[in-house]
């Protein structure tokens, strides 16, 4: 059931997002289609998961579930930063404000402030990042989450970007460098 749902989503994803692909001939064709099918399922899965995220122009993502929000940095951000060696975390209970820095992510070569896309109170920090800062690279949207925030209200959310706008924003930013 889930598979057919994904297949449908994969088909629509296919029409919109997948770039040109070369096709093999003869006996390679069944394997080629299987690989393509798996790729499309994965891509659709990502699409479905990531569509719930909102993005700030400073390359943080936020996932809102009711009054609670989880914040991290995007794949684009971690890719540009390189290997993360240290994550500066705020104290639990401290206040964060939309657009203001609450911590930093350090790579081998650079330090980057992390800004909060939302305002509220920090209720949890990802303590795993103290021992394994590399989670920000390997799993920026899942195990590499940075803080959980109790939202003041949801007035910040309309200011944030949806996935399509964020992807375009990244392209424009990279083009200008």
């Amino acid at each position: 059931m889930a598979t057919s749902l994904w297949a449908t989503r994969a088909a629509s994803f296919l029409r919109i997002n997948v770039p040109c692909r070369g096709f093999a001939t003869g006996s390679d064709v069944p394997i080629c289609y299987l690989a393509l099918y798996c790729y499309e399922i994965a891509a659709a899965f990502i699409d479905w998961f990531l569509k719930d995220l909102k993005y700030a122009d400073s390359h943080e993502w936020v996932r809102v579930e009711g009054k609670s929000a989880t914040v991290g940095i995007t794949d684009h951000a971690q890719d540009h930063l390189g290997e993360v060696v240290y994550v500066e975390l705020p104290e639990e209970g401290s206040k964060v404000e939309r657009g203001a820095s609450f911590g930093a992510v350090e790579s081998v070569k650079a330090t980057s402030d992390v800004n909060s896309p939302v305002s509220g109170k920090v209720v949890e920090v990802n303590t795993k990042l103290s021992d394994s800062p590399g989670l920000v690279n390997t799993s920026p949207y899942k195990d590499g989450w940075i803080i959980k925030v109790e939202l003041e209200d949801d007035s910040d959310l309309p200011c944030l970007m949806d996935p399509e706008r964020y992807t375009k924003f990244c392209e424009e930013e990279d083009a200008s460098h």
Binding site: N17, P19, C38, Y39, I41, A42, A43, F45, I46, F49, D75, H76, D79, G82, E83, V85, Y86, E88, A104, E106, V108, K109, T111, T138, S139, P140, Y141, K142, C170, E171, D174, A175, S176, H177
Partner: protein, 415 residues
């Protein structure tokens, strides 16, 4: 959330899609790229996945497909090949090239045996550093030097000015800037075994700090056994038209163990080895004594002077400098350039000049200058990083050199 494996696939897939978009996008920004100079290996770097960045007016690879951390570790375990063709190599020739150069540097050039080289500093009238350089006495009438890319114009103008004054008084010296050659650095434990495959000369007779002109892979090269990583290795000056072939041959002979390595890892390696980066750890106002390079001032030069800024420098040797370069370990976030250093009471005593995370030591390391008196091993300090104090966990005098690599180079020295 289930489907962890798909996550990894998704991440790499998304990145690959994004990369293909980036290719078309990158073509649009050719305007700024065209202003940057390119080495003979530029296309080679791009073909090998080099991430090209502007550096000192050149387009240079900061890293390749592997991460800076992996590159750094690989250099110390196997080996690295660096394109350093952006640096400026030149030859001074003539009967009086030695006395001429001695006016400008702190080294005892006359005392160098032919075929040996040393690190030195070009000084200004105030005793400050114009640039650091590796100089080699090829013969008594030929000195070969390499200076930093970022200081090329400044250094050449300085040398030219003094050369004009020197020759107008009858001195015999001329120069040739080796723009027809490219400099490659091959570093690591595999450097010598791999290079030996490409030359008939017995490299085991070439000790650290020594120089030879010889055929490597069918090209006439200037070879110096030296480097900027603390490992054994060579700097190879090859005619630019042979540079790509030499790079290919080195990588092939090592069966992939020696990897192309970028400037990102080069910086980590030199920091681990306690080596200064001109522009960070040494500047116009820094004297060699403050930078801990008193050892590079030859004994005869300390007695006689005769180089720019000698009065200031000799006084500092006698009385001790007011600030000194030191090495630092710290916990928490890595200390970076310009972080303030404070003593335990919160008084400002200095500044960090270079810092980062050491892939080999797996801790933060940094270099900086502190007021004399606070430079001894074990002194407790604080570093201010982004407005907060961080206790410095340990303190090492830079002479210790983080990985005790000086011992390694001494072991490679001529018995």
């Amino acid at each position: 959330m289930r489907g962890g494996g798909l996550w990894q696939l998704g991440q790499s897939v998304t990145r690959r899609l994004a990369q293909s978009d980036k290719k078309t996008v990158a073509r649009r920004c050719f305007a700024s790229e065209a202003d940057l100079k390119k080495t003979a290996l530029y296309d080679f770097h791009v073909a090998h996945g080099g991430k090209m960045v502007p550096f000192a007016g050149w387009s240079m690879p900061i890293q390749y497909k592997d991460s800076i951390m992996d590159s750094t570790l690989n250099c110390r375990e196997n080996g690295s090949l660096f394109d350093v063709a952006h640096m400026c190599g030149l030859s001074l020739k003539g009967k009086d090239c030695i006395p001429f150069l001695e006016k400008l540097v702190i080294a005892d050039v006359a005392g160098l045996a032919p075929g040996t080289g040393t690190l030195t500093v070009f000084t200004n009238e105030k005793g400050g550093a114009i640039d650091d350089s590796v100089i080699t006495k090829v013969t008594n009438e030929h000195i070969y030097l390499v200076v930093n890319a970022g200081c090329r114009d400044k250094d050449l103008a300085h040398i030219e000015e003094h050369m004009k004054a020197f020759t107008s008084k009858g001195g015999d010296v001329s120069w040739h800037i080796h723009d027809e050659r490219s400099l490659l650095a091959l570093q690591g434990p595999l450097a010598a075994p791999v290079l030996q495959h490409l030359t008939k000369e017995d490299l085991s007779k070439l000790y650290f700090g020594e120089f030879q002109v010889l055929d490597i892979n069918g090209a006439l090269c200037y070879l110096t056994r030296t480097g900027y990583t603390g490992e054994d290795g060579f700097e190879i000056s090859v005619p630019s038209e042979n540079a790509v072939d030499l790079a290919k041959a080195i990588l092939e002979k090592s069966e992939g163990k020696v990897r192309l390595t970028g400037l990102g890892a080069r910086d980590s390696l030199r920091l681990e080895a306690g080596l200064c980066l001109y522009g960070n750890d040494m500047e116009q106002h820094t004297t060699p004594v403050e930078a801990g390079l008193t050892w590079a001032i030859g004994k005869r030069r300390r007695a006689e002077g005769g180089f720019l800024g000698a009065e200031v420098i000799l006084k500092q040797i006698e009385q001790g400098p007011s600030i000194r370069r030191v090495g630092l370990f710290s916990a928490g976030p890595p200390a970076r350039s310009h972080c303030e250093i404070q003593d335990e009471k919160g008084q400002n005593i200095g500044e960090v000049t270079s810092g980062g995370f050491s892939p080999c030591l797996k801790k933060n390391i940094a270099m900086g200058y502190v007021k004399s008196g606070h430079h001894k091993n074990g002194t407790k300090l604080k570093i201010v990083i982004r407005g907060k104090f961080r206790p410095v966990v340990g303190w090492v005098n830079h002479q210790g050199i983080f990985l005790n690599l000086r011992a390694k180079s001494l072991a490679l020295a001529k018995p």
